[in-house]
Amino acid sequence: MKILLVLLDKEIRQFWRNRFLPVMTIVFPILVMLIFPWITTMEVRNVGVVVVDGDRSSASRRLVSKIGASDNFSLLGTAPDFNSALAALEAGEADIIVEIPDGFGEIRAEEHRNVSISANGVNAVKGALGTQYMLQTVMRTQAELLGEKMPFSPADDIAVLNLYNPTLEYRFYMIPALMIILMIMLGGFLPALNLVIEKEKGTIEQINVSPVGRLPFTLAKLIPFWIIVLAVLSVAMLIARFVYGLTIAGSAGAIYSASVLFVLAMSGLGVTVANHSSTMQQTMFEMFFFVVIFVLMSGLITPVESMPEWAQWITRLLPPRYFVDIMRAVYLKGTTVAELWREYLALGGFALLFDTLAVVAYKKQA
């Protein structure tokens, strides 16, 4: 225990002595939290639309004027046929082509034909979001048209209640994810880097011939980064609260306890990787590999549910996947630890596994 304190003192002094590291660990998270939420909106404005109106009725005109009125679309005009609309799309002006077939207004009639929406798939996100908006606009128009022909509109029969995020801000969904990305990068890279620096410089040799045990040595390498990451998380949560107005729906205790487990797992992984490598380059490349997979596969940016079975199975082996579920549920929905016990258990398992590996992988005698 005394040795641990001595080593911790050393690590903390070395951290502050570095000109670059403390600044980076403070400035980087703040920048990320201030900038990236504006990027991850998943809302597109000004999706360029070309309409091919084959109906030319009051119904189709109503749809066209709705498109024109929406902020999401910028109506570029109408085209006589699909091919000339396609030319506009190929020129990069239009993103979506809407074809309104003859008989569009006759929704209940036999001769009704469906609207078709073609999107430019090159920028898949814009295409997909534009398609969704268009789908909503068409459906809404159709429901209105139908309602006018009946005493009750079927659309009025449905009330929608959006829980947890009533203003429908996608940003709120992404802010916990950004916190996780920060924790992955800081919690994984920094301890790995810190350990491999000692290896490259050869100072670890001096520790190896000393009676310092591998547990205190490894702990001294991990603990400062646990503190740093939790501090960064706190700053990020303050920014979320005061800049974006996002409060924690659940308990802060639930967030912190999951974060502790997560940072234990990530730092354990970092130190394990560093223990197995001899150069910084090696360590960093292995870490990059993990981090890229973690960031892109654990549901941070794209939904896990839309992956194929086998890929979803792989995500079960990724600690961030569980953490993503916990953070979003607790932060936005106020889910309790009791409801998320499986995810907590999984995170705890990973923390135990990686930290044990970190201690075991450190060999004083080869």
Partner: protein, 245 residues
């Protein structure tokens, strides 16, 4: 007859097909300055690493201060000091911080560390540099400091792996005075070097080539045996027969 501090029998280390250390045996007595010589690649660093508990022998046995190098590596580490050819203090810590760190690692109390630190700084005439980052000290100073730190906990044996590499003759001289002082105080010194003039300062010298010990005796006896005027000549004669250099 003084106590035997290091005893090695048939010690061997193989890396794959390569036998770095090939069945070496020797004894080192308390208070000796034992010179461990050999050309680069002769296997001396590998042998030393086994004695310090950094590396497991492939076969053979050995004890350091009565403890088995195979089983009791961690116990040995409490009793030895070690300074390697690659400079081994933390560059980004100050002189005092380094001393305090190693005092803490070897379980010296706060008061004891403080006392020894002051004594050490005075002896090295380092008082004015105590808050300087080690990284900005000249190499010779670093080396002297590293030796003092390696003996801070008064170990029975201190292992020095090419401690004087790259320093000027004057500093080397001072460094060896420190070694003599430590040996006079009863510390056994196990030192590898390839400066042959330094070999002359040792109580006994072993010369390795191709992973084997080719000669082991006092410098005077070795010169007699090989009919050479200096240790340098002895070394050349042995090195000439070596296959791997």
């Amino acid at each position: 007859m003084t106590r035997t501090v290091i005893s090695v029998r048939e010690l061997t280390k193989r890396f794959g097909d390569f036998t770095a250390v090939d069945r070496i045996s020797f004894d080192v007595r308390e208070g000796e300055i034992f010179g461990f010589l050999g050309a680069n690649g002769a296997g001396k660093t590998t042998a030393m690493r086994m004695l310090c508990g950094l590396s497991y022998p492939t076969s053979g046995s050995g004890t350091v201060d009565g403890f088995d190098i195979m089983r009791d590596g961690e116990k040995i580490k409490r009793r030895i000091g070690y300074m390697s050819q690659r400079f081994s203090l933390y560059d980004d810590l100050t002189v005092r911080e380094n001393i305090r760190l190693y005092g803490g690692i070897y379980g010296l109390g706060r008061r004891q560390t403080q006392e020894r630190m002051e004594e050490l700084l005075r002896r090295l005439d380092f008082m004015s540099e105590r808050d300087t980052l080690v990284g900005s000290l000249p190499l010779g100073w670093k080396q002297k400091l590293a030796f003092s730190v390696a003996t801070l906990h008064r170990p029975g044996v201190v292992f020095l792996d090419e401690p004087t590499g790259g320093v000027d003759p004057l500093t080397r001289r001072q460094f060896w005075e420190m070694i003599y002082e430590a040996a006079a105080g009863g510390t056994t010194v196990f030192v590898t070097t390839h400066y042959m003039d330094e070999a002359e300062y040792c109580s006994r010298v072993s010369i390795m080539a191709d992973g084997r010990i080719r000669a082991l005796d006092t410098p005077a006896a070795l010169k007699r045996e090989f009919g050479a005027a200096t240790m340098d000549d002895v070394f050349r004669k042995i090195a000439r027969e070596a296959k791997r250099i």
